[in-house]
Amino acid sequence: MNGWESLHFIGPALTLLIGAIVVLLVDLITDRRAATAGLTLLVLALTATYATVHVVLGTSGEALYGAVVIDRFGLYFAFLLIAITAAVVLTSFEGLDRISQAGEFYALLLTSCASMIVLAQANELITIFVALETTSIAQFVLAGLGRDDRSAEAGLKYLLTGAISAAVLLYGFAFLFGLAGTTSLAGIAHYVGTGPEGARLALTMAFVLIAAGLGFKMAIVPFHAWVPDVYQGAPTLVTTFLSAASKAAGFAIALRIFYTGLGGGDTFISQDWAMMFAVCAALSMTFGNLAAITQTDVKRLLGYSSIAQAGNIAVGLAAVASGSTLGPSAVLFFLGAYTATNLGAFICVIVVSKRIGSDDIRDYAGLLRRSPGVALVLALCLLSLTGIPPTAGFLAKVYIFNAAIQTGHAWLVGLVIVAVLNTAISAYYYLRWARTMVLDEPADATAFHPTLALGSLLAAMALAVLFFGLNPTWLIEAARRAAETLI
């Protein structure tokens, strides 16, 4: 393989990185925010085109001495991440919240997206670590970019917890390297496949540490403590990005390491890490949902809800570990559906809080009369987060629970029962919010409308939530084909 071909394999990420630098330079020349924002969108469009070329050509294989692979799994996440970033950039036309440095905001957004795409393609521990850290550093800065103390506090908290979890992750990697003698995931899979009984304890230690390090990204209990404060303090645009992109990237790399690297559901340690993710899943769902009930700030509420949703996805990881053939594609499908739903909810919050100047749930009273379109989209997203048909969230939950039950393990069935009970709890606060919007009297009945761009974006999210709920074949097929390449 020659050098150009290697670069071609990481082309989408490279396009984004070059774009980030161009955005920074253009920001030096012009102060017009529309110019940098437009340029960022152009870069994202080019990247999406590049990724599409890979899909059409059906490129697959390793590049750069096995540091990255290009496969449908990586490309699935590339599209997901590009879509999330594009949605955030489109939303930013409405206003940059409390951020005054537009150029840096867009450049860091692109850098973070690029390194997450590399992360989804990474096939080797050191590349995984450096890509993860690049993503994190860009996100720490983004969270602290707002011009007030709350944002600075969010950035600092995120930085400190992030630094500790990076150290923990690295410790886990060191254990794996010490045992397997290689940093390549294929080499580690080979080592685990030989069933080294004497190393069971150290391997357990390794995957517990890795899960702890990645748990920070995925926001699962007990590595969730940063979520509410950072979600509330960071500019809402950044919160949107974190809750969708960062979580997707975290689960992508968790799947890659645990499924490809630790040999999926048929090694001598699979049951151990299945159990670990099952416990995390149960804790995340229960804690997230119970804590969300008492929240009055919508961003905190969505923060706790995202912890609970991460628990749902962790049910999928436990199913993967127990050898469920549906497991990986269920996780991918859930992430796709969750992304559309979550983005929709957050963009509604951005639109509303800009108009009413408040994040308090009581100020959403009577939203249906003030801005029917926004209220309907938000209500739809809340239904989807709860998991009520005919939304995408419903199918995603059914799919992931089905994957868990398919394995036939009693304790996984028990976990699904816990998850269903949790869905009932979550219905309480999601639907209470929806009821406030629909039934309560507004204190101030002035009507408002989102801008055309944001209105169309919201409509697109609502359509996606409905479309994947009514006709999921296309997304399921994409998820299935992506999961197949994850040997």
Binding site: L64, Y65, T134, F140, G181, M205
Partner: protein
């Protein structure tokens, strides 16, 4: 490798490193803490020498025992309102307990594991031949992407640091 000198050296250096690291957060004066940190880094570089990793040992001295403490001292000196003292923490006793618990766990796991030992002959490494060539080849070969990606990380950190400290023009 298993000569008695290396073993004694390892334990002496390990003791020095851990002891100095403990001092970093036990001493009250921040400048003393920085000096203790230098000592810990020097101990680390000694550990690398016992592993025949000469280049890493030198890099450790140059960067961690040389450049970074200078930055730290500057930061301590230039921060006007920072108290010169290590802050008290409510969490110190609990943290110490948890830390000791984890340390015990890690030692237990390391001891109870059958670590695969690579044969020195198969590594094609001649002792004392120097490791620079091997490291250079690894950085521009197997780990090229990570190596280049690290520059993106530095760029993001740099842009971010400038963006965060810049005064608001508005």
């Amino acid at each position: 490798m298993d000569s008695i000198g290396v073993i004694i050296g390892f334990y002496a250096l390990a003791g020095l490193t851990v002891g100095a690291a403990l001092l970093v957060f036990l001493v009250r004066n921040l400048l003393h803490a920085v000096l203790a940190l230098v000592l810990a880094f020097l101990g680390m570089s000694g550990l690398f020498i016992t592993l025949s990793a000469d280049f890493i040992a030198m890099a450790q001295i140059l960067i961690y025992a040389g450049a970074i403490p200078v930055l730290l001292v500057f930061a301590v000196m230039l921060t006007p309102h920072a108290s010169r003292d290590n802050a008290n923490s409510l969490f110190a006793p609990g943290g110490l307990l948890i830390g000791l618990g984890f340390a015990a766990l890690f030692v237990f796991v390391a001891m109870a594991t059958v670590w695969p030992v690579l044969d020195v002959e198969t590594l094609h490494v001649q002792s004392f031949a120097g490791t620079v060539r091997t490291i250079g080849a690894a950085l521009l070969g197997d780990y090229l992407l990570a190596f280049e990606l690290a520059s993106v990380l530095l760029l993001a950190a740099f842009v971010g640091a400038v963006a965060l400290v810049r005064e608001d023009e508005a």
